[in-house]
Symmetry: C2
Subunit: 284 residues, 2 copies
């Protein structure tokens, strides 16, 4: 991580801690804070803040949107881990929320994080028309046209074998939509040109799909200790993954193709894209 | 129900059906539509639309906000009914969402309804500064400062006996906040004066608390068939209710006091409050 990224993350964590500190319900607050502070890589808020910074936008002003993204991502992990869903005991090497607080509190902590994400953005200190575009982008990416739909397809997919188009669609919704939203929210805050918005979106799409292919590859090549969650879980549950569909080498080739697409998109930007280029290290 | 209310509800249902019809995931769509169409009384959207109409605002323009409220209310019922929460098999005389679709789909249908509520309001056809105030009101009422916090207090309360102040606070968050938001969102849309906003808010607070006291009374006086859900459930689970704390007569007196406060507030409005007066029939 660069020094600049590290400073962004400190500011983000301080902002999120301040928001969580305002909650007048210690039980709920503890469950929300536990998952927010569970050691996530903050990829989505970092993407947003990096885009804002790349186009000389105000990082401080962008913190509520970045926090909103991390709240939504964190809620999705809490709910995905529930016994009725993926039934995971470990997340980032620690007990999952329902293991730590019980199922009811885990569901409610997720619900509160999701709801508060919109509240934090809606009450942030930027022009109303920017705030509402951020809310719209986040809701579109997270709801029935995005992440939740992808999760439904993922659960449905445990009973059928998807083809490559179906698998891509699943992941564009489940993982890709929120990563793309992170980039588009950053672009919205920085008020970039239409051409830059398009190139950033193309980068976001390729990065999002590459991110999931990389995750599928790690599931079969990494150990539980390395992952901080149970390895080989996809195979055990006969999930549709890029590895199950294309084989390990095929998945690696598909990942390389997305990295190439992401780099091509970055080359079209009107600014030096080095800070975004570094996100491709997550795919190695 | 008056003819005017009936027309409002038809317009609302058509709007919600249109929004649900745009979801490109039949499994998710079916679970969301099942609960939206499960025969709810639509008290919250009706309150909002009645306030808008009372102050000569545009009801058509207010439909997205009304739908957003009903989406949030419906998500809260789906999650409250889950086995880890209240574990209810019946809701409005029909199988609850998790009984019909399984737990995972029920959780996800709730998540999507909550998220889409904000998306529908954010993309509605009114000025950006109004939309963002509606999003802020809804998030504040539904999240960690409102409904979710109330639900956490309710679950925590199964292990301790609350005093009257604690019970009121629980219900102001769990039930009252969203009813108050309905009224304040309507007042925001109709751009009422500060004095009317204050009187409407006082009405909303009294109505919200009265609504919950009435619910607690019904739990011990009505049958399962009348309620469409399991009667005497609060007693069986040793929940804190106004009846358990004040006795049946005490609860009835507390309800009468809230009705009086609601009527006093309505008398302060600058317009004829008859349409809002009729909502007090829900408390009989």
């Amino acid at each position: 991580m660069t020094k600049a990224e590290s400073a962004l993350l400190q500011a983000l964590d301080a902002f999120m801690a301040q928001k969580l500190g305002q909650i007048d319900n210690s039980h709920l607050q503890a469950a929300m804070a536990y998952s927010i502070n569970a050691g996530g890589k903050r990829v989505r808020p970092l993407l947003l803040l990096t885009v804002v910074s790349l186009f000389n936008g105000s990082v401080t002003t962008a913190l509520p949107a970045a926090a909103g993204l991390e709240f939504v991502h964190t809620y999705s992990l809490i709910h995905d881990d529930l016994p009725a869903m993926d039934n995971d005991d470990l997340r980032r090497g620690q007990p999952t929320s329902h293991k730590q607080f019980g199922e009811a509190q885990a569901i409610l902590a997720g619900d509160a994080l999701l709801t508060d994400a919109f509240g934090i953005i809606a009450t942030s200190d930027i022009a109303a028309d920017l705030r509402i575009r951020l809310v719209a982008l986040l809701a579109q990416a997270a709801g029935s046209h995005g992440m939740v739909s992808g999760q439904v397809r993922d659960l449905d997919g445990e009973h059928v074998v998807l083809d490559l188009a179906g698998l891509k669609r699943l992941h564009q919704q489940k993982t890709g939509a929120l990563l793309l939203a992170a980039i588009q929210m950053g672009a919205t805050l920085a008020q970039v040109s239409a051409a830059d918005f398009e190139a950033l979106s193309a980068f976001g799409q390729a990065f999002g799909l590459g991110f999931q292919i990389h995750d599928d590859i790690l599931d079969v090549t990494a150990s539980t200790a390395m992952l901080g969650k149970t390895a080989n879980k996809d195979v055990a549950e006969a999930k549709n993954t890029f590895v199950s569909l294309l084989g390990l080498e095929g998945a690696q080739a598909a990942l390389a193709e997305q990295v190439r697409l992401a780099q091509t998109a970055l080359a079209r930007l009107s600014v030096d894209a080095t800070p975004l280029q570094q996100f491709l290290n997550y795919l190695k």
